[in-house]
Amino acid sequence: MVLSTFKLSTFYPIYKQMKYICLGYIDEKAWGKMSRDGQNTFVDECFAYDEELRKNGHFIGGEGLQESGNATTLRWRGDKVTVTDGPFAETKEQLGGIMILEATDLNHAIRLMSNHPSLRLGGGSWEIRPAADMSAILEESEQRRSPRKETS
């Protein structure tokens, strides 16, 4: 039967992991008020957990960020770029770090990040954003940009 020649996937095919960009937000003021010991515990536990994620192949990149006061924002204004001091938006919680996480699905990503000590110790939050799969768009874009080989 024709039917049996098709192999079907279960809900999501497992041949590819998903990339999730995790944006870690912290309240910088609260961090500044934390005791030295508290800060040390936070840093130690976070690094230890990141190490564990790296060993298991989930942590594929990430950086801690300097304080938001050191941020610079560029915008297009009229006909030129303006440069201003500070982050994109002044909010209570500021972006404090980013991590590129590889996981099988959103539940897996939630599970991995729920155990991140920064939530328990830092009172911050993690925003989990799936990375967009740009491969098809890229392919189409390349086709548009490539010079025509044939002339009619």
Binding site: V2, L8, S9, T10, Y12, H108, R111, P130
Partner: protein, 434 residues
């Protein structure tokens, strides 16, 4: 032709009984809600045509699943020439995994439970979860759900589209959560069930006090959960819904006005629903692992078991509310506790507690807090305070029967009727966690 009619009726019957299970499995096999819905539609269309010729297959559900899946792959293959995006999807659909009989029917109910947990996933918006559940699990149409939630069909359709897109793009898996995550995730499911029930039972605004369809759908969901996932809180919520539902015929007049619990004709209470609710409650309590829904069911049971309003066991009810405050504290539970204490120890004791809640500002915009306070003041002969409370409640109440009820109270105050009993059910509208 008689045989055509016969087949059509048979297919209709199978649609009613099996379409949700077929859909749940197709979602798993095709990996996409929209594809699965199209596949379901195609499968039933094919059934109408082919069963006429070849007769009804011995396992209609398995036939519908494999037909729907095959038709969809066919369609995908034809579309795949249109662009690399579609080609990628088809490749995804036709790659790996097995095409085995277990894949089509992996044991009773599995896929429906997957569907419930996916539709109630906490990563979906609060508004989308009940809408998606009613659409996919219960099979209601977008228009029906929109009418029930008093939003336009296009608003509701948009919520559902956005939720489905997030499931697909963020890759929310089609899985029943593992045991260690089950309690939290089950909570999210029960919240949806209870919200749907309450939307039907205490419509939050609009003309009619009850909207039968949503409560019935919630109870159906509760039965399905109880069948698929035995758990004390599932028993608890189902018991709670049944015990509340048992009073439906008694809680409004034919013109839709509220009848207080105390004034209800208890012979109108549905004894069959009550006894089913009590059996479930007993089972939940015996487990010793029950939670807030079971406690609320126990409170509803205390009312159900009282032969008359003045024989209500307020000591037990106050005790249950105190317990509920410990398990699941909220200002609304505290308000209910205050009313139960008023009934047990007298209005003054209750009033002190209600004032404490209102002074904190927690429920200052909650009409039932003001009307409960007014009732107690009235009983204490403090008619001016009672009037102010009812007026405040009236300025906050949205729903027409409730507004008429408060207007009646204010009118009765003028005619200086004797004691008006405090209504407990009236303030027992629960807000569950969050």
């Amino acid at each position: 032709m008689a045989s055509d009619d016969h087949i059509r009726q048979h297919v209709d019957k199978i649609y009613r009984e099996e379409s949700r299970r077929v859909l749940a499995t197709l979602i798993r096999l095709l990996g996409d809600f929209d594809l699965a819905e199209d596949a379901l539609h195609d499968a039933f269309k094919a059934a109408l045509e082919q069963w006429k010729e070849n007769g009804v297959p011995s396992n209609p559900r398995a036939w519908l699943i494999s037909t729907g899946r095959f038709k969809m792959i066919d369609r995908m293959r034809r579309q795949s020439k249109f662009g690399p995006m579609q080609a990628k999807h088809t490749e995804r659909l036709t790659s790996d995994a097995a095409d085995s009989p277990e894949n089509i029917d992996p044991g009773i109910g599995d896929d429906r439970l997957r569907l419930i947990f996916t539709c109630c996933h906490p990563a979906l918006s609060q508004e989308a979860r009940p809408a998606l559940t009613l659409r996919e699990v219960c099979g209601l149409t977008t228009e029906e759900i929109a009418r029930a939630f008093l939003v336009t069909p296009s608003t509701l359709a948009q919520r559902i589209v956005r939720a489905k897109s997030k499931i697909r793009e963020a890759r929310i898996p089609y899985l029943v959560p593992p045991p260690e995550e089950l309690p939290g995730r089950l909570d999210a499911v029960l919240q949806v069930v209870y919200l749907v029930f309450n939307e039907g039972y205490y419509a939050s605004s609009g003309n009619s006090l009850t909207r039968v369809d949503l409560s019935a759908e919630a109870i159906r969901l509760g039965h399905l959960l109880a069948e698929l996932l035995p758990d004390p809180e599932v028993d608890g919520i189902l018991s709670l819904m049944l015990l509340n539902e048992s009073r439906r015929a008694a809680r409004t007049t034919p013109t839709g006005d509220i009848i207080l619990l105390e004034d209800q004709d208890r012979s109108l209470w549905d004894r069959a629903l009550i006894s089913e609710g009590l059996i479930l409650l007993k089972r939940a309590l015996a487990s010793n692992r029950f939670g807030p829904y079971t406690l609320q069911a126990a409170i509803a049971a205390a009312h159900a078991e009282a032969p008359a309003a003045d024989q209500t066991d307020w000591t037990q009810i106050a005790g249950l509310y105190s317990l509920l405050m410990r398990v699941n504290p909220s200002p609304v539970v505290e308000l209910n506790l205050a009313v139960a204490i008023a009934m047990r120890d007298g209005p003054l004791a209750g009033l002190t507690l209600i004032d404490r809640i209102l002074d904190r500002g927690d429920l200052s915009a909650y009409h039932l807090a003001h009307s409960a306070r007014a009732e107690l003041c009235f009983r204490l002969g403090r008619t001016e305070e009672a009037r102010a409370g009812w007026e405040r409640a009236l300025s906050l109440a949205q729903q027409k029967p409730e507004r008429r009820f408060l207007e009646r109270r204010l009118a009765q105050l003028k005619t200086d009727e004797k004691k008006i009993p405090v209504d407990v059910e009236f303030v027992r509208r629960q807000t569950t966690k969050g």
